[in-house]
Assembly symmetry: C2
Homo-oligomer: 335 residues x 2
Amino acid sequence: MNYREAGVDIGRKASALRAATAKIGETYTPEVLRGMGAFGGMMLASRLKEMREPVLVASTDGVGTKTLLAAQTGRYGGLGFDLVNHSVNDILVQGAKPLFFMDYIASARLEEAVLGAVLASLAEACKAVGIPLLGGETAEMPGVYQEGALELAGTIVGVVERAKVVDGSRVRPGDALLALPSSGLHTNGYSLARKAFEGWNLAEPREELAGRTLAEALLEPHRCYLEDVERLWQAGVEVKAMAHITGGGVYENLPRVLPQGLGAEIWQGSFPIPPIFRLIQRAAQVEEQEMYRVFNMGLGYILVVSPDKVDEVGGLLPQSCPVGRIIEGPGVHLV
Amino acid sequence: MNYREAGVDIGRKASALRAATAKIGETYTPEVLRGMGAFGGMMLASRLKEMREPVLVASTDGVGTKTLLAAQTGRYGGLGFDLVNHSVNDILVQGAKPLFFMDYIASARLEEAVLGAVLASLAEACKAVGIPLLGGETAEMPGVYQEGALELAGTIVGVVERAKVVDGSRVRPGDALLALPSSGLHTNGYSLARKAFEGWNLAEPREELAGRTLAEALLEPHRCYLEDVERLWQAGVEVKAMAHITGGGVYENLPRVLPQGLGAEIWQGSFPIPPIFRLIQRAAQVEEQEMYRVFNMGLGYILVVSPDKVDEVGGLLPQSCPVGRIIEGPGVHLV
């Protein structure tokens, strides 16, 4: 049963959620015509009218079982950033800038405090990238969800000029791979991570994590790469391909954006691996290759540029690392 | 853990799903640039370029606990129509025509046969309204979902010319309400319906249902009203407001589209109530008013037109029923 069935649209109206609702209102750009309350959220597509050949780019995703960790520790404030930033990065890969976001929150029974925290963080994350949280749905479904478990999914819609779609077609052997660092697990690999730390104290500061707790390290929000990539575009740097390293790791995600017949070499030791990954690896006894299949291992987002652009990118994005190169023949190889 | 985490994008690639994948491909209009496999689905916004002031309209929704009934009876083939048609109707209320759809399917563990059936029905439903199933996400989350339970949600994006947004501002006291009949529960009230029929035989043909079984009557897909409303537009009939009667029934949904200070009178006996509702009412001993709060009671979609248009609408849409009128003062009153 969703809230509307119950006769009250708790998701948007209840008094305890006023703060979150106000934050959603703050995300409304002048293009938004109507938001909450209407059957559908409305946004003027004036930006598209000014483009030559606008292409809409859309992606739907969820934060997976990271919600279970949030529930376990009572820390829900990062989940909105996880979902929105993941989604922004996903469409950025094709060169698209975000237009608006839609959320879906479901549970067996939703506490107002939890819902308020999640909605507020969604609104903050949308505001940070300058897009409206145009609408969403909140559903209570006992019988579908386990008690206390939360589902958080959403859809992003963005736009790119057709001539500027990043499709990897200009990638050549010898092109350079640069990585933008991740902040940790982002939104993938939580089933394995949760298993690894079963019975561990999540609230205890740990030396291996430079004094942070497991809860802090594991719940660190997904990083957004929009600003970094926009800096390259503004400087006129041609980015030939980009990969967002999510579930499936670099092995699955990098090939998705490369032309057929081309692969990549990733240089081990060329980028910092956040300590949380080594802790998981030791705790769960996971082989090195498998770690790269499940986790981003510090490679949050990969840029493919011509080798003569490496220094310029390094100047514009000091946190970026040269981590490999494009090679003939398919597949991703850790060397 | 989602499928990408597992290293295989089962949702889109596994061989048992080839039929569904082919059906998704059939939904691709010439405007679609890339669909499955890419990080984001891409669609040329050429239609928006031709418009004067295009407004994007988006809605996110789920089919709720209707999935539990589908699981119980093994009949998943209607769920895609439920979700897509519900969504199409939601944005139609504001005058928008659909552009594309994005799905989200999640479960503790997803059987390929189930996933294939759901994806195929989503694709068929999209094809029926002429829009691409541009992308989606499939997630397996043990620990979040109960065994055997399925989540099906999605987001629709449509477009309307700003000057043609249907916003109810021209609604006046005395305007006529016409209803387009529902096919049954559509996607709301399943928690109550499932409770009502606990222990009943869902597979037995029933006299009260004109020989249909409870499973058939309860799983009857959500009807789509796009074609009906387009017929009115093509004939130049001004539709002043429209309400999609979903969760919360006519009491909650009709006021959402009326100007402040106006309400509605609904004439009991003026429209056919599908027999499934009376069966639920008797089985669960639900009061009449409460029935109208939880269910659509046969009022699938309500049109508000000037009283002198009633005959014309009746001629164009023979299945429509005059069911009431707009009155001074707020609230919906069954009389």
